[in-house]
């Protein structure tokens, strides 16, 4: 079952560019992510994701998946197998569910990409039981998929809207008191700090807007 490429659609090569760009952004912001996780966590979010995305690039290089589903699922499985911590199962599940939703196709149109993203975020909620305002990556991802859907048919515009919403969601975690993950142990002391997972989630959407648009 192979899809007919559509004008403006996101193909496997573009998805690969997204993953590459996210890996690059994570490497570049590794110290910042760890610094944020030092304030309200255990100082490993940057190295966790950097290790995982390095492994993802290696896996994709050796396997060269031919469909969107295969590429996204390989990404998810590699993250599950190499990251650990909270973010490993969460980002891993995100990509696994996104890949399953995308299916064995060579490209995704705007609606299919949106549905896949929403499925991925649904996976995070299923795994992490996160709710809006818990001060997690979900606080960046939830508004992002909503903004994507609201933005209309053009994939570039939709992703830019999603990325902007993720950035705002990330910033909005600062005043929140954490209710999930390690930061919740800090109680009120978690207030005033930006959530590291929301920060990496905003990087993920930013990379998407740059590469898939």
């Amino acid at each position: 079952m192979s899809a007919v490429p559509t004008e403006g659609a996101v193909d496997v090569a573009a998805l690969r560019r997204w993953i590459d760009a996210f890996a690059g952004d994570v490497a570049e912001h590794q110290e910042e992510l760890t610094r944020l996780d030092s304030a309200i966590g255990d100082a490993d979010h940057g190295s966790n994701l950097a290790r995982g995305m390095k492994a993802v690039l290696a896996a994709l290089d050796s396997e060269r998946p031919a469909t969107a589903g295969a590429l996204l699922k390989r990404t998810g499985m590699t993250l599950v197998s190499t990251v650990g911590g909270a973010s490993g199962p969460l980002y891993g599940t995100f990509f696994l569910r996104m890949g399953t939703a995308a299916g064995e196709v060579e490209s995704l149109d705007t609606a299919a990409l949106g549905a896949a993203l929403r499925a991925g975020v649904g996976g995070i909620v299923a795994r992490g039981k996160s709710e809006l305002g818990d001060k997690t990556m979900y606080d960046a991802l939830a508004p992002a998929v909503d903004a994507y859907d609201a933005a209309g048919d053009e994939v570039g515009a939709a992703l830019r809207a999603a990325s902007d919403a993720a950035d705002r969601g990330r910033d909005a975690t600062i005043p929140l008191q954490a209710r999930k993950g390690r930061a919740s142990y800090l109680g009120e002391r978690s207030v005033g700090h930006q959530d590291p997972g929301a920060t990496s989630a905003a990087l993920l959407l930013g990379a998407a807007a740059r590469t898939l648009g």
């Binding site: 760890t34 255990d42 100082a43 197998s81 990251v83 650990g84 909270a86 209710r179 999930k180 142990y185």
Partner: protein, 333 residues
């Protein structure tokens, strides 16, 4: 950062090489970063596995051996192991009677063990039960937290549950002992200094001279509150009071008291603290029948300590006293 390491990325795998070299009774799967009993699986015995981020040594790898764990998965420093490791450890530990997963209550640990249990059940048919340790009274179990953290009680639970498995009980009975230990144990910790995650390269938080953190976990994270440095006797009050107000000792049960060092605090201070803790417990009418003093569940080189009180009944006491032979705890053989 001042550490006896080579490349920060290799800390865990190189430490595992050292464990393998130092302990001929243990096997190490370097690929999966698993420490296991060289004679695993033990036929007919329920397998016990645990795991978590590294940096808490001797927990968990140092508690592998007869009378305690069959295998332990080492994650990166302070990072839960991945499901693949847990699956491999489960296979190593399964002697046909099923495997108990001992999981400390952290989002990451719980999710990774959960995924592993799903995979094991789907792929291998090995029976798996899980027990989640959540004994840290610094954290209230509420809508506003991920529940209590698993800290000091983990050590006691691994020992006692290991003895129960050694007696040939079935998986449900072994898991039941583990849950009873968890229900009877409470802990509270404090830090004098932060610690440095090798990959991060600098202290997780800044703790000035004259201040300390009360209500810390074991991942170098800040605690519930920062207060002025106080004499040992006051620190002991701050730790014991919340533990006792959460445990009911009116039944006349004895207690196992565990004064744990966080890694950078020397035995001299731990014994001094133990004296303070013992005095408070005596005043509170708690009869201490067993004790354990030393760095058993640590947070890298953090200076500080935690107090765990475990309410003992006759059975738990007998299981605690049963022989154990691991790098970290050893008696009776």
């Amino acid at each position: 950062m001042k550490k006896l390491i080579n490349d920060p990325a290799d800390v865990v795998s190189e430490a595992l090489l050292g464990i393998a070299a130092a302990h001929p009774d243990l096997g190490v799967d370097h690929q999966n970063k698993i420490v296991y009993r060289a004679d695993a699986p033990v036929r007919g015995k329920v397998g016990l596995i645990s795991g978590g981020g590294s940096g808490h040594e001797p927990l968990h790898g140092g508690f592998v051996g007869p009378g305690m764990l069959d295998a332990a998965c080492a994650g990166e420093v302070f990072t839960s192991p991945v499901p693949d490791q847990v699956v491999a450890a489960t296979r190593l530990a399964d002697g046909g009677a099923g495997v108990l997963h001992i999981v400390k209550n952290y989002t990451g640990d719980v999710m990774n063990f959960e995924m592993a249990a799903e995979l094991v059940t789907a792929d291998t048919g090995v029976e798996v039960a899980s027990v989640v340790v959540d004994d840290d009274v610094a954290v209230q179990d509420s809508l506003y937290t991920a529940g209590r953290r698993g800290v000091g009680t983990t050590v006691l639970l691994e020992k006692i549950t290991g003895a129960a498995a050694d007696e040939g009980r079935d998986l449900a009975a072994v898991a039941d002992v583990a849950r009873r230990v968890n229900a009877a144990g409470r802990s509270m910790g404090m830090a004098l200094t932060s610690c440095t995650v090798p990959a991060a390269g600098q202290p997780t938080f800044d703790l000035p001279e004259g201040e300390m953190e009360i209500g810390i976990g074991i991942h170098g994270e800040p605690g519930r509150r920062r207060v002025p440095l106080a004499p040992a006797r006051e620190v002991a009050e701050m730790l014991v009071e919340p533990v006792l107000s959460d445990l009911d000792f009116t039944g006349g049960d004895g207690a196992l008291v565990f004064l744990n060092g966080m890694g950078g605090t020397p035995m001299l201070e731990l014994y001094l603290m133990y004296n303070e803790v013992a005095k408070i417990l005596q005043k509170a009418g708690v009869t201490v029948v067993r004790s354990l003093v030393g760095p058993y569940i640590t947070s890298l080189e953090m200076a500080g300590c935690s107090v765990t009180v475990l309410k003992l009944d006759d059975e738990l006491l007998r299981l605690w006293d049963a022989p154990v032979s691991t790098p970290g705890l050893r008696w009776g053989r």
